[in-house]
């Protein structure tokens, strides 16, 4: 059977993956899919659930992709399966099936101890659970987590972030007993206790004690200890949700779960099970990667394939409370005769163990705590020869990174998506020449991303040279060019191209060099040779429009403006017949100026106290703000004051691309700070800093970078963030793409500008200090210099003649260019946006 009705019970991560996989394999839509979801929201990323406490919202975690031919029924819980009629009954009706897929997941196991049902006791499974924990944590002081596994430690961190004094109680003698060994657990404990999370290990919880109101107040432990706890999270493991399958008479695994074969098929050939509710040949898996593999198997089976579950890679790498922990293969050395190689560095707080076969030739598994940088290479090497000497591997040797090229063809590079070295090599041979195309082609690196460095190494190993050349005139990247100019103290393009390039330059490298020279502080951008490097916008300090006219944007810091200044803008617009529009960045754009009008317009604006808004530059644009605590009854900080200060601090700062910012005075976020390169959101006690957001073609929310900062600490971090961006980003790379492309991403960025891992902070701070003191308004400086003013004429031989090609008609009471609507009836040629640009 390769078509009909599929009913999927459950819309968790694996259920969603099954639907995506089936749609990808069944483009003709032979299968109609009905998804029954108990929760009121579509599939979300439960693995990253804790990000909710870092400010991620439902939308950030959303995994749902709408498909044709898929009906998603939210909030409709399945209540029974009638196998004889092949019908699923739900809280609101019936759904006939030809094939039924259980993707019901699991439920949190709550030990049967007295008091487990008290008010204030929570589980940690859904977004609703987390929201309830957050609400309840207000005004509470102490918290406890029952369970010291992966989820328990995440919950402990959440309680800590919510301001509770937190303890963890674990029945096993170490933290994360499934993933790490005794020594690894001991190292992990040191990290956890340093965060003031108390660990009670090897002890059971015997009861939860209520206060006078019946809410939980304390835990009683088997060793007689009593822990204060106003809020308790139970994270003592999960159990498969197999109740519907049991009631329908399907066979169940020895420890629960729908018993399925390697095709993920139950004892009824029309019924499959995937994910945490499935017991494949009797074993349940509590990780998402095996669940994804099962989803792919069933999708393949439904289109006539013969895929089987490949056995699970239970390898795990995560960052818990800031600590890297990884575990892979036979981490506990269960293989008879195996050998352990261990490495402990108490000073650096690193523990590592490799498990080798009895002849020390084959890697079987391992544990890493404190530093998991060797994880991608090691995990992919399980079952094969060691890619380097054990100690070199464990010491996290730089050179080891390059060993991905030594992996055997069968090694699994991406375990989330079951992509092997051979799959990657085939894709490279078929023409994939960079990481992005490998991702698109093979799905490798698209889930957890930990194998991305290996994809780069495999490209290198295959001899694919990823050109960093800026253009035909320079063989180096923008970052390298920046360093050359800075270190050699080069101040002119002609010297730079003579010594480090070839030819005469072009519209790619010249603006890049102009921007670097400006970032390094080389005087006015229109002086001397620099003028010839500027794009037309920077050359006329205004924004070129489609008809050859320019627009003018004075700076209005933080969007705050006096009535007097507003009147001046109105008068200027009226006197020069300029089309006037409010921008998204809380300022005013005046359109339709000829180049010869620009100095006259700016004379009036500068006299009224305005300065350049740099709307024309790859530079700081605006720092938008909400009205903040000054007026708003919800505001908790003065967002306007901070926005004005930030805008004045960073005005005129030239960068690889435009930089936008915003400050919101409370968590309601009216300034939309999270859509900015750097955004600031007020908290009760300070400021949260977000980085790497943008709107535009590919909108992206900024990531939370640091919390509850003082204004001084905030400014220091932004200083370094911007200067590091200016030094190292590619041409026209916004901060979002810059961080995404960075090896190590946000963690690396934090290491560099918070922990000063590269020893750069002093230099970055000094560079920003130089910028701040050397700032001078570009337009004021033009108006005072006859030489700079000279270029502002339409015709060199007729300075008094206005450009006759710039003419206007009136629309809604304002001037617009003749033929201003490209799709209109005026018969003007279409704009070339989207035409191919051929570059050598």
């Amino acid at each position: 059977m390769t078509g009909g009705n599929v009913v999927v019970i459950g819309n968790g991560m694996v259920g969603q993956r099954f639907v995506d996989a089936l749609r990808a394999r069944d483009p003709q839509g032979r299968w109609r899919v009905t998804v029954l979801a108990e929760e009121s929201r579509p599939a979300y990323d439960r693995v990253r659930l804790s990000a909710y406490f870092d400010g991620a919202d439902e939308e950030d975690l959303n995994l749902h992709t709408p498909h044709d031919g898929v009906q998603l029924r939210l909030g409709e819980r399945a209540t029974g399966v009638d196998r004889s009629r092949r019908v699923v009954t739900t809280t609101s009706g019936e759904h006939p099936y030809d094939v039924l897929v259980f993707a019901t997941g699991s439920y949190p196991f709550v030990p049967p101890v007295p008091g487990a049902d008290l008010t204030g006791v929570f589980v940690y499974r859904t977004l609703d659970d987390l929201a309830a924990i957050r609400r309840y944590a207000k005004d509470r002081r102490t918290g406890a987590v029952i369970g010291g596994g992966l989820l328990g430690l995440e919950a402990a961190n959440a309680l800590r972030l919510l301001g509770l004094t937190t303890s963890v109680v674990e029945f096993a003698p170490r933290l994360m007993p499934v993933q790490v060994d005794t020594a690894g657990g001991a190292m992990l404990r040191r990290y956890v206790e340093d965060l003031d999370v108390a660990c009670h290990l090897g002890v059971a919880t015997t009861a939860l004690r209520p206060d006078a109101d019946g809410a939980v107040a304390a835990l009683e432990l088997a060793d007689g200890a009593v822990l204060d706890a106003d809020l308790v999270v139970v994270a003592a493991g999960i159990r498969p949700r197999d109740e519907l399958a049991r009631a329908a008479g399907l066979d169940i695994g020895p420890r629960g779960g729908v018993l399925v074969d390697a095709a993920c098929r139950s004892t009824d050939e029309r019924i499959y099970a995937v994910g945490e509710c499935a017991a494949v040949d009797g074993t349940c898996y509590g990780l998402v990667a095996p669940g994804y593999a099962m989803a792919e198997v069933v999708a393949d089976r439904l289109v006539g394939g013969a895929a089987t579950f490949p056995g699970a890679d239970t390898a795990t790498k995560l960052k818990l409370l800031g600590v890297d922990v990884a575990s892979f293969g036979d981490a506990h050395g269960a293989t008879p005769g195996c050998l352990d190689v261990t490495w402990t560095d108490p000073a650096a707080r690193v523990y590592a163990k490799l498990v080798l076969s009895d002849d020390a030739s084959t890697l079987l598994g391992g544990v890493l705590v404190g530093d998991a940088s060797a994880y991608p290479t090691l995990r992919a090497s399980v079952g094969g020869p060691l890619p380097a000497a054990p100690l070199a591997l464990l010491a996290g040797d730089e050179a080891v990174g390059a060993t991905a090229g030594a992996l055997p063809a069968t090694a699994q590079v991406c375990s989330c998506n079951a992509v092997t070295r051979a799959d990657i090599d085939t894709a490279i041979a078929d023409g994939c020449a960079d990481v992005a195309s490998l991702k698109a082609c093979t799905r490798a690196g698209t889930s957890c991303g930990s194998c991305v460095p290996m994809l780069k190494q495999l490209l290198d190993a295959a001899g694919v040279v990823q050109s960093k050349a800026l253009c035909e005139h320079f063989d180096v990247s923008r970052q390298e060019l920046f360093d050359i100019i800075r270190v050699r103290g080069i101040r002119t393009f002609s010297r730079l191209i003579a010594e480090h390039g070839r030819g005469q330059g072009c519209d790619i490298c010249k603006p890049v060099v102009a921007s670097i020279l400006a970032s390094l502080g080389n005087g006015h951008i229109l002086d001397g040779e620099q003028a010839s490097l500027q794009d037309t916008n920077d050359h006329f300090l205004a924004n070129l429009q489609r008809d050859g006219s320019y627009s003018v944007v004075p700076r209005i810091p933080g969007g705050e403006i006096t009535p007097e200044k507003l009147i001046v803008i109105g008068e200027v617009a009226r006197d020069f017949n300029l089309y006037t529009k409010i921008t998204g960045g809380q300022r005013i754009d005046l359109f339709g100026a000829r180049v010869d009008q620009l100095p006259q317009i700016w004379r009036r604006l500068v006299d009224a106290g305005f300065e350049s808004g740099h709307a024309y530059g790859k530079a700081l644009r605006t720092v938008k703000s909400c009205v903040g605590s000054t007026w708003c009854r919800y505001g908790v900080q003065d967002s306007v004051g901070l926005a004005v200060a930030l805008e004045l601090r960073y005005r005129g700062l030239r960068a690889p691309h435009k930089i936008k910012s915003a400050v919101s005075g409370c968590a309601r976020e009216c300034a939309e700070a999270r859509s900015k390169d750097f955004g600031v959101i007020a908290t009760e006690t300070g400021w949260n800093l977000y980085v790497g957001g943008n709107g535009g073609f590919r909108p992206r929310h900024a990531d939370l970078f640091a919390t509850d900062l003082s204004t001084e600490a905030l400014v220091t971090l932004i200083d370094r963030f911007l200067m590091y961006y200016i030094r190292t980003a590619d041409r026209l790379q916004r901060t979002a793409a810059w961080i995404e492309a960075m090896d190590g991403g946000l963690d690396h960025l934090r290491a560099v500008i918070v922990d000063d891992s590269l020893g750069l902070c002093e230099e970055l701070d000094a560079a920003m200090a130089r910028h701040v003191v050397s700032y001078s308004d570009e337009w004021r400086d033009v108006l005072s210099d006859a030489d700079r003013l000279r270029r502002f004429t339409s015709f060199v031989n007729a300075p008094e003649v206005p450009d006759p090609s710039i003419t206007f008609v009136t629309e809604r009471g304002q001037p617009i260019p003749v033929g201003g609507h490209p799709s209109g009836a005026q018969g003007r040629q279409p704009v070339a946006l989207g035409l191919p640009e051929v570059r050598r």
Partner: protein
């Protein structure tokens, strides 16, 4: 577009009014001409960008592609050969070129009608 054609040289400006590797626009018998000065000499082409329909080519960035001296349209960056007016990015697109010389320190232009 060549509304007027003349065979005579028209004086435009002193040579030192032109910045190296930058263009200016001139009005020659009613025609907008883009004039460029590079290390190799002077070039003159129509100021009209044929792709956008705006008179902006004089404001583009001057450079080279291989051995070819070029200017890139400031609107959408198509690159033109300053010697021939041919667009190097879009086959079949070109702009009119004009004659230009320096005579007694003065830049002179003579319009040409392209065939």
């Amino acid at each position: 577009m060549t509304a007027a054609t003349t065979l005579s040289w028209v004086t435009v400006c002193p040579l030192d009014r032109l910045d190296r590797d930058r263009g200016v626009a001139a009005l020659v018998a009613g025609v907008q001409v883009a004039i460029f000065r590079t290390a190799d000499g002077l070039y003159a082409i129509d100021n009209l960008d044929p792709v956008s329909g705006a008179y902006v080519l004089s404001r583009g960035i001057v450079g080279s592609r291989g051995e070819v001296p070029t200017v890139a349209s400031p609107l959408h960056k198509q690159v033109y050969d300053l010697r021939t007016g041919d667009c190097l990015d879009l086959p079949g697109v070109s702009v009119a070129r004009h004659q230009i010389r320096c005579h007694n320190g003065m830049v002179e232009v003579r319009l040409r009608q392209e065939g």
